[in-house]
Amino acid sequence: MDFLTFLSRIADLSPATTTPTDDISVRRVALTRLGKVGAALLPAVVTALPTPAEAKLLNTTVLDVIKLALTLEYLESEFYTQALALPNAATFFGSTENRTAIQTIATHENQHVALLQRLLTEAGAVVPAKPNFDFTGSKNGAQPALYPDVFTNLDTFLRVAQLLEDAGVRAYKGQVEFLVSDNYLLEAFVRTHSTEARHASHIRTMRRQRGAVVKSWVSPSDAAITTAGTAPDKAYAGEAAVVQYTPGPRAVPFETTLPINVGDPLLSREALLAKVAEAFDEPLDATTATELALLFIY
């Protein structure tokens, strides 16, 4: 494409009205938005944030968001690909149905990788190479493994899968606010995010069917799969929040005025707040998401 044609195409763009329906939309958005800082709205936003800690992310660009998402999708894609390539893959998953489910998830993760790579390519950005992954968490033997039997014990495999999927949902959720300037990307990320939530739910259902104490949604009643204070536990830190905000900010008065205790018999305060925690998935910031990914990258 010659430069003048390129310019005329750029001039013809109207990214705010695009929807993720065709390849042209991908190109338009990618070309125009990657370098844009999500900060135009942010001075006023700071006053509306419930926690000042989030201010550190104000310089996040769309490019940063896509690169983080690609890292996480590389991670998930490689995890399932390695498992499906095991010499004993026919028996490792315990049933054909389980193996098919893992294949379904792997296919989606590969598709997410392809989408993000194409966004970068069509924007003229460099596509980061896929890192080296060690899902035992030993950094290729450089340190004691976190999950030494991840590819020999199905329960360990599913625990790591749950960790990756739950964290993936949270990581996507933490990034959508930086995409408000771009309807195409915002919708694409929200839709990817709910695909990941379906995966997480299914992995949890699989684990429950194998005897684990875990719901299909994140619950304070889940048996922990991480140890408090360790790096992997950051995947769940803060997930049990029972305070939510509406603009103002105004905290939603779950404990006082809202008629949410509708069970028969009525729930105890603790049980009711556990339901509140279940009813909301919480975001993860980019720093924490990256830290979690690095557990498996060497």
Binding site: V26, R118, T195, T205
Partner: protein
């Protein structure tokens, strides 16, 4: 931190009668918002259903999501009030969770809307949803009905995020953050109930795009599409054409 921006927005919208219900039945006539201005001259007639028109702004979108959460909560409450005979203990526990989550979502949105909730002054005459089109006497029927409702809910949430209006006061970010916190829980619900109807159908091609440049992306529907799908459950006519579309 001040909530003046929110209050200002609310006052403005009330003056504009942001949402009207031209009502007919005793229930729906009670839905007319307090604050609908003197320009609200529709004459209630006893034979036609009311109309619920969502306004072209964030409060219209939130009322739309609020209606969906009311529908889901009512559905699960109906099931929990009369479980099918072949429901297991695990099914019962799951449906009580689902009911509780949807009630919490419903009340969160109602709180967020405050006096801008379309039924803020409905009192005890809240919408009574009509589930007679659903067979709910067996486990499979109940899960299949839940699957239908949850998939619609996920598609609606997937479509609503980009429609939230960008406001310089940042309130759209708070709404966006709140709605995506609910969206992934709805997707977890949908995957769970799908798996109960048909094993490992949690992310089949009818809900996750299978081919093309958008492969791997979850289902999305516009408010107009969603309101058409749920119309048979709702005792008033839903008008979503005023909602933002981009």
């Amino acid at each position: 931190m001040s909530d003046s921006a929110f209050s200002f927005l609310g006052r403005t919208l009330r003056r504009r009668s942001f949402l009207r219900v031209a009502g007919a039945t005793a229930a729906s006539s009670a839905l007319v918002l307090a604050g609908c201005g003197s320009d609200d001259t529709e004459t209630p007639t006893p034979t036609t259903p009311g109309t619920l028109t969502f306004s072209n702004d964030n409060l219209g979108l939130l009322n739309y999501v609020y209606l969906l959460e009311q529908l889901e909560a009512a559905f699960y409450q109906k099931v929990v009030s009369s479980f099918p005979l072949d429901f297991t203990a695990a099914d019962r526990a799951a449906f009580i969770d689902l009911r509780d989550h949807e009630v919490i979502h419903r009340e969160t949105l109602k709180f967020a809307l405050g006096s801008n909730a379309y039924d803020a002054n409905a009192g005890t005459n809240a919408l009574v949803f009509n589930f007679t089109s659903l067979a709910l006497t067996s486990r499979n029927e109940v899960y299949a009905a839940a699957r239908t409702l949850e998939d619609v809910g996920v598609a609606a949430y997937n479509g609503v995020a980009k429609l939230l209006q960008v406001a310089p006061d940042g309130s759209h970010l708070t709404y966006l953050k709140l709605l995506v916190k609910l969206a992934s829980v709805e997707a977890r619900h949908a995957a769970f109930v799908r798996d109960q109807v048909q094993a490992s159908s949690f992310a089949d091609a009818d809900v996750v795009t299978a081919t093309g440049v958008l492969a791997g992306l979850d289902i999305v529907k516009t408010p107009v599409e969603v309101t058409a799908l749920i119309a048979k459950y709702v005792p008033v006519t839903l008008v979503a054409t005023s909602l933002p579309t981009i």
